[in-house]
């Protein structure tokens, strides 16, 4: 019954905030942070108590194929931790950061709807509910990107809107074709039907439509054009949420649930994901090396890391799956931390061009330490978490027989190292250029420091506590992927 609160509690807080903002302008700060903290605490409790089981909640008491269900299994639990952790940290960060903007309460309302929509996506047991929550997330992110209403924000937002709406309509067309074949909208019922009657040619037509829609949302390489514009121009807490969580939940959760769970995955599909991921890794890394804007570099780096996750899913072995799942957790923490560091640097110095920055390591020590933690996790330095996830992906590739692809991925780690060393040298470590007002810069306020430290400690902790996290969080998620089409028979009994 507790899983009902995950989509509902942020919606209740957002509706209360619409009423409360008439009376008190600052009431949004503590209400939204408290909501995000409660959700994060509940997500961590679920990790400790779930132990590989499945929880199903029937709304309204209707039976399984007739009514709407909320389904929580190991894969959903992993995503719940990711969403609520990044949501909580970005809420904490935005208490100080949003003092620059005038309509602060509306920011909190939109951010709470974003968290509610993300929680709803990972908990829905119904394919149409999945689509509706995906649209709630899309609308909240369109409005949040255009929040500070400047020229660049509006242009980035309209690009994301046009491409995102096209992707959503393709997903809807795929959902329609799947409904016409199986006759039901429930995911478990669909899975049982398809595993009993075999693959129909209509389902083979629906799979590329769904894949196109999800690839647009995930910014895989031919469809990545909106991401380097949208993520830098958004306000910093929104960039952290978007880059760390939204591009993974909307697309990778959809791919795993619908392709692995319902329609069945063929080796061709796995190869498409693998090669698309490989192209994304190199394109993102090469483009990131040439950038001079801090946040734009991080946006291209996001394209590259999503390529790693697609590569891990495309291997087809449990080692590769485990690497991809752990990389989802790692990438959420270190990429959100990196965006928050970039926002802190911009807050203190007013500058985003890394060729003009320099020498911030002794003026902003907390920021410097957090950026070191994020950089080591990004580059794959032990004992930080990124090392283990990349190691698992490379081992999965070798075990599946893709030797050249594995060597190319090892080579790409060199490029990743190159661009994060570029950030560290240009922003923090070198002597500053002459016309840079260094003595007036001080550290960011307390709440921003707290949010950076939380994520930095978790980056290190994910690597140190790796065996426990592998057993408690990653293995139930991998079990969902390897079970595949038996998803239906597992859920229908409950």
């Amino acid at each position: 019954m507790l899983i009902l609160l995950f989509p509902l509690l942020p919606i209740i807080s957002a509706l209360c905030l619409i009423i409360l903002e008439r009376f008190d302008e600052d009431s949004g700060d503590y209400l939204s942070s408290a909501t995000a903290f409660v959700l994060f605490a509940m997500a961590v409790t679920i990790i400790f108590t779930l132990n590989g089981g499945v929880v199903v909640y029937h709304l309204g008491g209707w039976g399984s194929p007739l009514g709407v269900d909320l389904v929580l299994d190991g894969f959903s639990a992993l995503f719940l931790v990711v969403i609520n952790l990044v949501g909580f940290v970005s809420m904490l960060y935005s208490i100080e950061y949003m003092k620059k903007f005038t309509a602060k309460a509306k920011f909190y309302i939109l951010h709470l709807f974003l968290i509610a929509g993300l929680n709803g996506i990972v908990l829905s047991g119904d394919i149409f509910n999945f689509y509706v929550f995906m649209e709630i997330v899309a609308f909240a992110s369109y409005a949040l990107i255009a929040f500070g209403v400047e020229q660049l924000d509006l242009e980035a937002s309209i690009r994301y809107q046009v491409l995102g709406t096209v992707g959503s309509f393709f997903v809807l067309l795929g959902i329609g074709i799947l409904y016409s074949v199986t006759g039901t909208l429930d995911l478990a019922d669909m899975s049982r039907f398809i595993s009993q009657t075999g693959i129909n040619r209509a389902i083979l037509f629906a799979v590329p439509l769904l894949l196109f829609g999800f690839a647009l949302k995930a910014a895989l390489v031919p469809f990545h054009a909106w991401l380097p514009d949208a993520h830098p121009t958004a306000p910093t807490p929104v960039s952290a949420m978007l880059s760390g969580v939204v591009i993974k939940v909307c697309s990778i959760y959809g791919i795993v649930r619908i392709f692995f769970g319902v329609t069945g995955v063929s080796p061709t599909l796995l190869q498409i994901l693998l090669y698309a991921g490989l192209i994304s890794i190199f394109f993102g890394a090469f483009s990131a090396l040439r950038q001079t804007d801090f946040k734009r570099l991080l946006a291209y780096s996001s394209i590259s890391q999503i390529g790693y996750i697609m590569l891990g899913i495309g291997t087809g072995t449990p080692l590769g799956y485990a690497g991809a799942m752990f990389h989802i957790l790692n990438h959420a923490t270190f990429k959100s931390l990196f965006f928050i560091v970039a926002g802190a640097v911009e807050h203190s110095t007013g500058e985003r061009n890394i060729t003009k920055l320099g020498g911030l390591s002794d003026k902003m020590p907390v920021t410097f330490l957090s950026s070191l933690s994020a950089s080591f996790s990004l580059g794959g330095v032990p004992p930080f978490g990124g090392f283990f996830s990349k190691l698992l992906i490379i081992l999965g590739l070798f075990k599946a027989g893709y030797l050249t692809v594995g060597l190319l991925v090892v080579l790409s780690a060199v490029f990743t190292l190159a661009y994060f060393l570029k950030i560290q040298r240009n922003v923090f470590l070198r002597l500053p250029t002459s016309h840079f007002p260094l003595p007036t810069i001080k550290e960011v306020p307390v709440l921003m420091r707290v949010s950076m430290l939380i994520l930095a400690i978790i980056c290190l902790g994910l690597g140190l506590a790796f065996p426990w996290i592998l057993k408690a969080i990653v293995e139930p998620a991998v079990a969902v992927l390897t079970n595949g089409c038996k998803y239906g028979s597992l859920i229908l009994g409950l």
Partner: protein, 149 residues
């Protein structure tokens, strides 16, 4: 707007509003439910704003209070859902449980909590879309152009 359009709209607008309420209230017997009826109510308000101008529509229904009414309807929807969770009907303790008496079909007072949910959804959708349209229209541009027909 034109004098002809104003006179004709003044005859029609009350009928649209009443038809919207009819679709919402009879939603469990006849086609159309909370969403459709709410869109009709919203279109009645929006028609008033388009034909008579922003100030006349603001005198009838204030835009910011429309947003608050919509939020209160959303909260009441969730409260009705939680009332089912508490367990007014013994043995059935679910969110959005059907706890009001379910009379004979094809009559108005039947179907449990479904008419209540329809009315709340109609208010939420109707006032919400009117408030969205109001915020879109009353924005004043930088060059002094007033964005009103």
């Amino acid at each position: 707007m034109d004098k002809t359009i104003r006179i004709l709209t003044s005859y029609v607008i009350g009928l649209i509003l009443i038809f919207g309420f009819y679709v919402v209230i009879y939603g469990h017997i006849l086609p159309g439910e909370g969403f459709d009826g709410g869109m009709l109510i919203a279109s009645a308000f929006i028609l008033c704003m388009i034909v008579y101008g922003r100030d006349e529509a603001k005198k009838r229904v204030n835009i910011s209070s429309a947003l608050v009414v919509s939020a209160i309807a959303g909260l009441l929807l969730i409260v009705v859902g939680f009332l089912g969770l508490i367990g007014i009907r013994d043995g059935h303790q679910f969110f959005l449980d059907n706890f009001l008496p379910q009379g004979d079909p094809h009559y108005l007072f039947s179907g449990g909590i479904v008419p209540v949910l329809n009315v709340l959804l109609g208010v939420l959708v109707g006032f919400g879309f009117y408030a969205l349209f109001g915020y879109l229209v009353v924005w004043r541009g930088e060059r002094g152009t007033d964005a009103e027909p």
